[in-house]
């Protein structure tokens, strides 16, 4: 694989690439809307009012940011370490399973114990699911790109089986789990709004990830290994377990994202539980330039798009899946800018 897309840059250029990518994506989207017979300005207006027009909209943006931020951090930490974890989606689902399972089974525990327990279980579950890919890579040389993709689909199948079988609700009407008990639910921040304490947890995770990457020797090792394993090894730093550590950390963050969704929003596990957070996460991480604080902004941006696109769909008749195209154009623009900058640097 080529080197990760970490490009440390001088001055303003560091921030220019994501902005150029955003503007390109918005411009292309406007053209798409025109082509589709819509009115780009009306669409933009609908999008903005949908995302910012009411306290409820703000709350929904917060709700949406949470899983995007956590999975975005998961991808960023893996890519930083040179590990191509495409499996955030599967790790997120396993985290959700852990919460749905503990939250409906360990019902006798008090809230002060159950809530931390379910969230820890979510992180551990995600880490273990990612760990499968890590072990396959270290022990059997299996490329993590393919194995994490396969594990995504195995996790989807696992969730499908669980909600039709072992975890199916007591009423046995719908393919979904019972709701987790109140003691396993994350509190909401404001009554009447869905935005919840998980958003704060996600922000704390971003700060934690930044501390880990930039303020600990472990993080330094991970970044250096991803960029130049030989020089890192010669410097006396640890390189052997680096891949496993990075995958486990990445999986834990993604698992937490899924766990928080169940604990705070859905309360139940069901089939199409995730609208592909784990795949959007790749766009989030790249737009955030693999920096935790950049990832916060990128997650917020995509959350605004997600929430706003629903009202855009209602008001302007433009499909909300336009957001996927915007994500794609962001990634393509960043790739093209990387190429351009490499050529400039070589000159």
């Amino acid at each position: 694989m080529t080197a990760p897309l970490v490009v440390t840059r001088l001055g303003a250029a560091r921030y220019a690439a994501p902005l150029v990518a955003l503007l390109t994506a918005l411009a292309v989207s406007a053209c798409l809307i025109l082509l589709a017979g819509g009115d780009p300005f009306a669409a933009l207006q609908a999008l903005l009012s949908g995302a910012f027009g009411s306290p409820d909209a703000w709350s929904e943006v917060g709700v949406r940011t949470c899983p995007l931020l956590l999975t975005g951090l998961a991808v960023a930490i893996a890519f930083r370490a040179g590990v191509w974890n495409i499996g955030a989606e599967g790790q997120l689902l396993v985290g959700a399973v852990m919460v749905a399972w503990l939250g409906t089974r360990a019902t006798t525990l008090p809230a002060w114990l159950l809530l931390p327990a379910v969230l820890c279980a979510a992180a551990v579950g995600g880490a273990a699911w990612a760990g499968i890919a890590g072990v396959l890579r270290t022990a059997r040389g299996v490329d993590e790109v393919i194995s994490t993709i396969m594990l995504n689909f195995i996790a989807i199948g696992l969730v499908g089986w669980l909600v039709h079988g072992p975890l199916m609700e007591a009423a046995a009407t719908y393919p979904q789990s019972d709701a987790v008990v109140a003691a396993a639910r994350l509190p909401r921040l404001f009554s009447g709004y869905r935005v919840h304490a998980g958003a704060l947890l996600a922000l704390a995770a971003a700060a934690g990830t930044a501390l880990l990457l930039f303020r600990t020797v472990l993080g330094f090792e991970m970044r250096a290994v991803g960029l130049n394993p030989i020089a890192t090894r010669l410097a006396g730093l640890r390189t052997t377990g680096a891949l496993l550590r990075a995958l486990a950390l990445s999986g834990a963050l993604a698992g937490l994202a899924g766990g928080i969704e169940v604990s705070a929003i859905t309360y139940r596990l069901y089939g199409n539980f995730s609208p592909g957070y784990g795949f959007t996460a790749i766009a989030v991480a790249l737009l955030g330039r693999l920096h935790p604080f950049g990832v916060v902004l990128a997650a917020l941006f995509f959350a605004v798009l997600d929430v706003g696109s629903l009202s855009m769909q209602r008001a302007a008749g433009v499909s909300s899946v336009l957001v996927s195209a915007i994500q794609a154009i962001v990634i393509f623009t960043l790739l093209a800018l990387d190429r351009w900058q490499r050529l400039e640097a070589a000159r």
Partner: protein
């Protein structure tokens, strides 16, 4: 007699590096023409120019007196030039026949006819007396000698009149070198011109008709083999020896032994031993130079001493403590620091900042035993290194690969010295540096030697070693000679390097 191939005033520059300057070369049909030179003398670049892989900035090529313009390797093939690369261009997963398929295709042939290719390969191999073995075996399963024979057949396919071999014996076990030479001799008698790149003098003397010596991208001599001898050639390769500089005050003989190596061996499968029973003692305050033509054991010694490669046998001790683990981390803990030969690949993480690279060493990162990074303190360390060693780095946050080679090397040396090592292993520390940068590197080394550290200088540049070292030992085919004291007997060193005097 008109030469088959003529080069006139070929020049090529890569960035700041002038790889070739006004090179003239004539190769005649039916001769083995050796191109001799140290590593980095420009031999490989020159061959790539002839094979169409590198476009020269200036100069002309003619074949049979007609001008030749090469835009790709394919053009060279069409002109009757074949090349055996130092790193074989063979596909391990494909069979011998498949590897030869494209070279042996007839004009206009579209389909893959394994039987025809096999027959053609056998015919061609038999003509020159090469044994290719089983043609359906995957190349990856074959020994290196067989692979080389496949490469030669591939290069000879299609009426090749000039065959280029880039260091062909570097990969061969000694017993197969003779077979290769027999084949080359037969080709010569059949009228093929052979360009033979090497830095091994005895091979040149054994095989070549004429010799062109390159040094720093220029032709420094053209001689017929019968008019010269190994020692003269060694002198031509390394250049006129400067008067050995004033030696540093010699370290007192009574100081303790900082580094002791005892019976160190590294086996390489399929080839001669890379290190063969190497022993040496390095006293505190001493700079021991290890000379030798590249490929005779320096790389392996560097890798063992930095923990990149465990030895097959032997002991290494630092300050009397025998090392039990050969891992870079263990070497760091024992007090060995290194200046690696390949700056960008081994010395720095190019995409990380100057400040990060300044502390890229476990001893600097964990100086206080903590697992936390202290950016402010570490930036202060970086700034101090930059000031002390006059490193030109405007921005601590800029990626280190933006630095010039000289400044990057100064940073690597500064970092190594900042770890307060007991032993420094420096591999070609001045390669590619201008005079000022090289002087700065050695001034820094001298300062830490004065504080009681010891240094091992591995270099293929004999001048450098003679100017800087207190004692010199010479590598030849994995064996290390007894160290020689100042004043250095230059002729004897040349003989040791050429292997014409037993260590």
């Amino acid at each position: 007699m008109q030469p088959l191939l003529s080069l006139r005033a070929i020049s090529k520059r890569f960035g700041a590096l002038q790889a070739l300057t006004d090179v003239d070369l004539d190769v005649t049909a039916g001769e083995v023409h050796a191109v001799l030179g140290e590593n980095g003398a420009g031999k490989s670049t020159l061959m790539k120019v002839i094979y169409g892989l590198v476009a020269p900035d200036r100069g002309t090529l003619t074949i049979d007196g007609r001008p030749l313009r090469l835009r790709s390797a394919l053009d060279a093939r069409r002109a009757g030039i074949g090349m055996v690369h130092q790193e074989f261009a063979l596909v391990d997963a494909l069979s011998v026949a498949e590897n030869l398929g494209l070279a042996l295709r007839e004009p206009g042939e579209r389909l893959w006819h394994p039987a025809r290719i096999r027959a053609a390969a056998r015919r061609l191999a038999a003509e020159v007396g090469l044994d290719l073995g089983e043609l359906d075996a995957p190349v990856g399963t074959l020994p290196v000698g067989t692979r080389q024979r496949i490469e030669i057949v591939k290069a000879l396919a299609g009426r090749t009149r000039l065959l280029i071999l880039d260091e062909p014996t570097a990969v061969l076990p000694p017993e197969e070198v003779g077979q290769l030479f027999a084949v080359l001799d037969r080709l010569r008698r059949q009228g093929t011109a052979i360009l033979f790149i090497t830095h091994k003098l005895h091979e040149v003397m054994a095989l070549a008709d004429r010799i062109t010596v390159l040094r720093r991208g220029r032709v420094v001599a053209r001689v017929a083999c019968c008019d010269t001898d190994g020692a003269t050639l060694a002198g031509l390769m390394v250049g006129p020896l400067a008067t050995p500089a004033e030696p540093r005050p010699a370290p007192p003989a009574t100081t303790s032994v900082a580094l002791a190596i005892d019976g160190l061996s590294v086996d390489c499968h399929g080839s001669a031993r890379a290190l063969d029973d190497v022993s040496l003692q390095l006293r505190a305050g001493e700079l021991l130079g290890i000379a030798g033509v590249d490929g005779n054991g320096q790389t392996e010694l560097f890798e063992v001493l930095t923990g990149l490669r465990p030895p097959t046998r032997g002991r290494v001790s630092v300050d009397g403590q025998v090392l039990s683990r050969f891992e870079p981390a263990a070497m760091c803990a024992a007090g060995i620091a290194c200046i690696p030969p390949d700056r960008l690949r081994q010395g720095v993480v190019g995409a990380m900042s100057v400040a990060d690279n300044a502390v890229l060493d476990v001893r600097l990162l964990r100086r206080d035993g903590s697992w936390l990074m202290r950016p402010a303190a570490q930036r202060a360390v970086a700034q101090e290194l930059i000031d002390t060693y006059a490193i030109k780095a405007a921005d601590l946050d800029a990626p280190v690969r933006a630095l010039s080679g000289g400044n990057m090397q100064r940073l690597i040396v500064a970092r190594a010295l900042a770890t307060e090592p007991r032993v420094i292993v420096a591999a070609n520390p001045a390669r590619g540096l201008d005079v000022a940068a090289a002087e700065a590197v050695y001034a820094a080394l001298a300062a830490i030697l004065a504080r009681g550290a010891a240094a091992l200088l591995l270099s293929t540049d004999l001048d450098e070693i003679l100017a800087r070292a207190d004692r010199v030992a010479v590598f030849y085919r994995g064996r290390l000679s007894q160290p020689l004291e100042r004043p250095f007997p230059v002729e004897r060193l040349g003989a040791l390097m050429a292997g014409s005097e037993a260590a």
